[in-house]
């Protein structure tokens, strides 16, 4: 039976999230002390060495991004931004971190700030997460009181402070450059990449953007070392990942395990299997911008690399389990509705495309088998065009669920015996 290994969630449920003293007693802020004694390059080198990859969805090597941002200029103003806009359907890991162990995020962020020589940090939390906002604000206040934030932190000469900014209900604002627009007080329209945030971020200044879970991993990695971290999980995506399980399971919830765990272990050992005695049909991995896996993937390990080899995605770590009685077209329909709703309308392929493919799928079940085949292939073509021509990753995403569903469940989609 697979077991949890808690690194990002090491204190979750163990300490009182509103007590900084309990966090300190659990080795809290020790990694910060150690970092402040080390050189800035020492920190990003350690993170590079650890192999940590961004937990926000894209899986970009975290240390490399830090190093680029650190080296882009020596004395210019720089910022750290924490992406806490968690909006990918099926995902709720960042909420758990912020609600149960907010200091872990704050300590990680100060360390990141020190390693790139930033002066200010912003945590962009989605507006709906009222309790997260309250807990993180309380933790920031306490950290200031204990001189972990502010000027001359712990006598090191390093100045850094953090502010919370609330989002207001836009999924697209989780995309890093759009998030920066929103932080600047504007409508959430994406910026064109490049330049990347490391070159031109918030107010045009070099900016390091990381997800909550990514930053919460900093303190244990700094404290225990890259070698320790790398010994956990798969080769190419080491460490642990928080998986959020939902859908037709006996025990939906969040579980942190090494990335070497298999999909089947997550569903059966942690999720308790399919509820009401039903059989497994599909798992949607990574949320709406994710992929559908069938039972032939139950033995695949959950590292970014291992999933990618199978044409699947890890994304944010969301796993939505779907039982045999469900109609996958209905799930797909709600995913496409989600994209249609969240498209900002700035570019034509996505604005028109998301509406068009949603409409096409709505009448799918009323069609003859031949028409279904034709319609689905048309939709795939359209999503392919969107992937190539859309301005930002949102318009490039619908192809993921569409294509994986066709590859793994085409019999189901075009059969008459529904």
């Amino acid at each position: 039976m697979a077991k949890e290994v808690r690194i990002a969630l090491r204190n979750s449920g163990v300490i009182n999230p509103e007590s900084i003293d309990e966090y300190i007693n659990a080795d809290g802020y020790q990694a910060l002390r150690k970092s402040l004694r080390s050189s800035q390059s020492g920190i990003y080198d350690e993170i590079i060495e650890s192999g940590l990859r961004g937990r926000g969805g894209a899986g970009f090597p975290t240390g490399t991004k830090e190093k680029t941002t650190a080296l882009i200029c020596a004395d210019c103003e720089k910022y750290v931004v924490c992406n806490a806009d968690e909006g990918e359907p099926g995902t709720f890991k960042d909420r758990v971190i912020m609600e149960t162990d907010p200091h872990s995020l704050i300590e990680g962020m100060i360390i990141a700030g020190y390693s790139i020589n930033a002066t200010r940090g912003f945590i962009y939390i989605r507006g709906e997460y009222a309790l997260s906002i309250e807990r993180v604000q309380h933790a920031i206040n306490k950290a200031r009181e204990y001189k972990f934030l502010g000027t001359n932190i712990l006598g090191s000469g390093f100045d850094f402070d953090i502010e919370i900014r609330r989002g207001a209900g836009s999924y697209l604002c989780g995309e890093e450059l759009t998030l920066l627009e929103s932080l600047e007080g504007k409508r959430g329209y994406p910026r064109i990449k490049p330049p990347y945030p490391a070159e031109k971020g918030l107010w045009g200044k070099p900016t390091l953007i990381n997800n909550v879970e990514t930053l919460a991993n900093f303190p244990p990695i700094i404290l225990n070392g890259a070698v320790w971290y790398k010994s956990i999980g798969t080769d190419k995506s080491p460490g642990t990942k928080i998986f959020t399980l939902s859908g037709d399971l006996c025990n939906p919830g969040y579980y942190e395990t090494p990335t070497s765990i298999t999909l089947g272990e997550l569903i059966y050992d942690f999720g308790g299997g399919i509820r009401n005695g039903k059989r497994f049909k599909a798992a949607l991995l990574g949320g709406a911008a994710g992929t559908f896996a069938s039972d032939k993937f139950l033995d695949v390990q959950m590292g970014y690399d291992k999933l990618k080899e199978q044409g699947l995605t890890l994304g944010s770590g969301a796993i939505v389990v779907i039982d045999e009685t469900r109609d996958l077209i209905e799930t797909l329909e709600s995913i496409l509705k989600f994209f249609k709703h969240e498209s900002c309308g700035k570019c034509i392929p996505c604005r028109i495309g998301t509406t068009q493919i949603y409409h096409d799928i709505c009448c799918f079940n009323e069609m003859s088998v031949i028409d279904r085949d034709k319609t689905y292939k048309n939709i795939l073509n359209q999503a392919e065009v969107m992937a190539k021509t859309s301005l930002c990753p949102l318009g490039q995403s619908p192809i993921l669920p569409l294509k994986s569903l066709w590859q793994n469940f085409s019999d189901d989609l075009v059969s008459t015996s529904k």
Binding site: E86, G87, E88, P89, G90, T91, F92, D94, R95, R126, G127, E128, Y129, A130, L131, R165, R166, G167, A168, G169, S170, Y171, S182, L183, E184, G185, K186, R187, G188, T244, L245, S246, G247, D248, P252, G253, Y254, L284, A288, A318, V320, I322, R326, E330, T331, S334, I335, F338, H341, E342, C344
Partner: protein, 154 residues
């Protein structure tokens, strides 16, 4: 401008530096304090003045973000998640039950002004689908009974 706003709006605005990046924070704060949970035309004017930006910019931002509203709403705002997980587990039942019970259309406000029912995207409570929020409080595993009970709290 109503009596509450005139005083409170100025109090609230005073808390924020005159920098545009506080716009969303200000909008949240004003909306949460308004008994009708919206941003009135008067408030938009006051914000624009405080931050020294055009009113159209403020309207643009209010119009973009789904949590913000330029139209008056009920005293209590019910946001029902209708994203894929909740939809699969039964958000349609939640919406039907609420709209029937409160005699209101989705997006509308009850005649007594007590509730507005809206749909929204994933609330990050998917393991307890179907979910909703009333104002800033989260509820999950909704059934007809639990919905009736939670309405009594307000």
């Amino acid at each position: 401008m109503g009596k509450w706003t005139c005083l409170m709006v100025n109090e609230i605005l005073k808390k924020f530096p005159k920098s545009k990046d506080y716009l969303l924070e200000i909008l949240h704060e004003l909306q949460n304090n308004d008994p009708k949970q919206y941003i009135s035309a008067e408030n938009i004017r006051a914000i624009a003045q405080h931050l020294n930006i055009c009113q159209s910019q403020v309207y643009g931002v209010v119009g973009y973000y789904s949590m913000l509203s330029a139209k008056p709403r009920g005293k209590n705002l019910i946001r029902v998640c209708n994203s894929p997980v909740c939809k699969m587990i039964g958000s349609e039942h939640t919406i039907n039950h609420l709209t029937k019970k409160l005699k209101v259309q989705l997006g509308g406000t009850t005649t007594d002004g007590k509730f507005t029912v809206e749909e929204c995207e994933c609330l990050g409570n998917c393991s307890q689908a179907p979910s909703l929020m009333v104002n800033s409080k989260l509820y999950g595993n909704l059934t007809s009974e639990s919905l009736d009970d939670l309405l009594k709290e307000f």
